[in-house]
């Protein structure tokens, strides 16, 4: 095992390198994923996407990293078609907020082809997309819309909280024969952590206990795992032992892990960066009440964003996002 540390962005970049080395059918496409770096006779250090995640890939795989026009409908439509006809594309949807302009190829084509062709079609598509608030990118570039893709049968949605999972989940996503939405939360993207060398996959539908505890279960994913861990640390100082479960995969969902931690602690607080209505937090809460009723020792609590657009002003954006303080306050309401 290595103690080599990478950022989530670098871990994603490494996963893309490995995927492209091991499978010639893997291509990248998106706005500025090559960033002009492929121009003949030009040794300019290419941009590698708006946040630099795909930097260097076009040099290694000049024919397989494609800059696209600024048209999400074009990117995703092309990618779905490429996937259905034999390639294994990784499309970058610069911000998840742009989902609205390209939903049809995902909702009505990618998600349905395998089903409607009796299993004879396959759509090995990965859509990488940056989600969430925390960069003062305002209401149109800060949303956490994974609840939409999670709710569409035929799509898988995963969301890492750390670099090691980012690498392993992305390799699983690319090698999956079904369309996968891979979310990259903004506040997680530059967090660094240990990343194993080489080629490995993190399986879908397997949540992970990232902190053991006995009094209350904090269920988190993506950016809120760090928030839950901070809260757990402070709760421990006050004598409350909080367990933190990182879902990692929203669809498929590890129901067993959720119900197991509920059975252990009897109390659940779900921490979700997204808005509260029809969301993952509500979905997990419903599971706890439906399947885990006899284990519930307290009401199920949700800590989410409010039902409103993400504000631009920093002080408002900070107040909008789930914080350790809000998690601690929710836990305090339980006893």
């Amino acid at each position: 095992m290595t103690d080599r540390k990478l950022s989530v962005a670098a871990a994603i970049n490494e996963a893309l390198h490995i995927a492209m080395q091991t499978d010639p059918d893997v291509i990248l496409l998106g706005e500025d994923v090559a960033g002009g770096g492929a121009r003949d006779g030009d040794d300019v250090d290419e941009m590698g996407g708006v946040l630099g995640v795909t930097k260097g890939l076009v040099k290694a795989f000049p024919d397989r990293v494609l800059d696209t026009p600024i048209s999400e409908m074009g990117i995703i439509g092309t990618a779905v078609g490429a996937a259905a006809t034999g390639l294994r594309p990784v499309a970058e949807l610069m911000f998840m907020d742009f989902l609205g302009t390209c939903l049809d190829p995902l909702l009505n084509q990618a998600a349905k082809l395998r089903y409607m062709f009796g299993g004879k079609a396959r759509v090995p598509l990965t859509v990488r997309t940056v989600s969430g608030a925390g960069m003062q990118a305002a209401a149109q570039h800060s949303q956490s819309l994974y609840w939409i893709t999670t709710g569409i049968p035929g799509l898988k949605t995963v969301i890492p909280s750390n670099p090691a999972d980012a690498k392993g989940l992305l390799l699983s996503a690319i090698r999956d024969d079904n369309p996968v939405i891979f979310c990259e939360p903004k506040t997680v993207l530059y967090a660094s952590g240990p990343v194993p060398e080489g080629d490995y996959e993190v399986p879908f539908g397997k949540a992970k206990i990232v902190r053991e505890g006995s009094d209350v279960s904090l269920i988190a994913f993506g950016a809120t795992v760090r928030v839950a861990l901070q809260a757990a640390e402070r709760l421990a100082a006050d004598g409350t032992s909080a367990e933190v479960l990182d879902l990692r995969s929203l669809q498929p969902l590890d129901e067993e892990a959720i119900l197991t931690t509920l059975a252990k602690t009897g109390s659940v607080v779900i921490v979700d960066e997204a808005t509260p209505r029809c969301g993952i937090a509500s979905d997990v809460a419903a599971l706890c009440v439906d399947q885990g009723f006899d284990h519930l020792n307290t009401p199920v609590k949700r800590v989410t964003a409010p039902h409103c657009p993400v504000p631009f002003a920093k002080v408002l954006e900070d107040a909008y996002m789930p914080s350790a303080e809000r998690v601690i306050a929710a836990v305090a309401e339980l006893s």
């Binding site: 009723f293 006899d294 284990h295 519930l296 020792n297 307290t298 309401e333 006893s335």
Partner: protein, 433 residues
């Protein structure tokens, strides 16, 4: 001007609820402080409750015959007969301050609270919250949620409350690996260990324990298979083993009180572990079981396997109590009601195993064996006892024994002659000092 509450008292450590038997004072009548204002019954025992203050019996919340948890508001006295008094408000305030929490499953009262008169003015049926985990655990353990105090927000009963309740009520003491016996402790002072008779639990000593707990540490031991005690697989629950179990929970010399088979256990304890015994109180003891006792225990075990606890209790009544006691309809019905739940705490398998132990022990100890015993002993005998008629021979065999024969009393002395038995024990304990 002021209002005084009369609530269901908690008279013994096993008492969770009580029945209102009678209101000797008419509604609107004046009572003096110390005057008997209420008669209640709990687990076979009747108790007269004195008014804690003078006043007029202004409102009665619970009618005779109703069973309610301890602490439930039963009636209100007011200083003046005509001072303003709102029965419902007083009940709500009382419950908020003293409990009990209204039962979760309590249905809404059929009669509107506004209807006048003492008939039904039930407390407002605020639903007490119970966490699903607490409800599931209570269901699994067969516990009554109404008896469990809620410590969560809004008085919610949470899982920890059920666990604490279990821990408090069932302080199982491990007497050998894997065998925990239910030991109830109450009071402060010299230890007194109570050993119940065949097929009984420590609730049969409720009156004695209630009376002695201000001055003594009362320890009630439920034998193997009784109440919450473990019931290890065995063909025989031997008296000798029961005595060793009792020895295991006495770490200092202890006053031992045993009734019937509990007296046999006490004798065996004194013979096997004399250093643990400070004094003996043997209620209706025997050395050789009578043919009738064998027949009754046989029928008891068989009935317990085939009939309801109520049927078992009604079968037992004529064998346990005297002619005089049975002639009193109130006493008979009350005892029957109290006996049934106690009987239900002893399953048929326990009765069979204990019966085998009783049979094996019968005749094993001779009067000569008892001659070794140094501990001062009190022997209490009922003159009309049908089941253990040779009690006096036990008293004669013991070198330091004082025997009291209670005339007109049956085998169930601790219940039938509760006060006399308590007084005699108290004097005996004092004389040992």
């Amino acid at each position: 001007m002021g209002t005084t509450a009369i609530a269901m008292p908690k008279l013994g450590m096993t008492m969770e609820e009580g029945t209102v038997v009678e209101w000797p004072v008419a509604l609107g009548q004046h009572v003096e402080k110390g005057q008997i204002v209420l008669v209640i019954e709990s687990e076979k025992n009747e108790a007269e409750i004195e008014a804690t203050a003078a006043g007029f019996l202004r409102h009665v919340y619970v009618d005779p015959g109703e069973v309610v948890p301890c602490k439930t508001l039963l009636a209100a006295l007011t200083d003046a007969v005509d001072e303003p008094f709102d029965a419902e408000t007083f009940a709500t305030e009382h419950r908020a301050r003293y409990g009990p929490e209204p039962a979760a499953a309590e249905p809404a009262p059929a009669t509107p609270a506004a209807s006048a008169g003492p008939a039904v003015a039930a407390p407002s049926p605020a639903r007490r919250p119970v966490a699903p985990a607490a409800r599931a655990l209570a269901r699994k353990l067969g516990l009554d949620l109404d008896a469990i105090r809620g410590t969560g927000p809004h008085g919610r009963v949470v899982r920890q409350d059920v666990e604490a309740h279990v821990a408090a009520r069932e302080r199982l003491v491990e007497v050998e690996p894997g065998v925990g016996l239910e030991v109830l402790r109450e009071g402060e002072g010299e230890p007194v260990l109570f050993l119940p008779g065949f097929g009984s639990d420590v609730s049969s000593f409720a009156m004695q324990i209630h009376s002695l707990r201000p001055t003594h540490t009362c320890i009630g031991l439920n034998p193997r298979g009784v109440g919450g005690s473990d019931a290890p697989e065995a063909d025989v629950y031997a008296v000798e083993r029961a005595a060793d179990d009792a020895a295991a929970i006495c770490d200092t010399p202890t006053h031992i009180v045993g009734a019937s088979l509990g007296a046999a256990t006490a004798l065996e304890l004194a013979l096997r572990h004399p250093e643990r015994v400070r004094s003996l109180t043997l209620i209706t003891p025997f050395l050789v079981r009578s043919a009738r006792l064998r027949a009754v225990t046989e029928a008891w075990a068989r009935l317990a396997a085939e009939a309801s606890p109520e049927a078992v209790a009604s079968f037992l009544l004529p064998w346990l109590f005297s002619e005089t006691y049975l002639a009193d309809d109130t006493a008979r019905e009350r005892t029957l009601r109290g006996l049934a739940p106690a009987v239900a705490r002893v399953p048929a398998a326990t009765l069979e195993r204990t019966r085998a132990g009783l049979e094996a022990w019968s005749g094993r100890r001779s009067p000569d064996d008892l001659g070794e015993l140094r501990a001062p002993a009190l022997i209490l005998i009922g003159a009309q006892d049908l089941l253990t008629p040779d009690g006096e021979s036990v008293g004669a065999a013991l070198p330091h024994a004082h025997t009291i024969v209670i005339s007109g009393a049956g085998h169930g002395l601790a219940i039938e002659e509760g006060d006399t038995v308590t007084r005699a024990i108290r004097e005996h304990l004092a004389s040992v000092r």
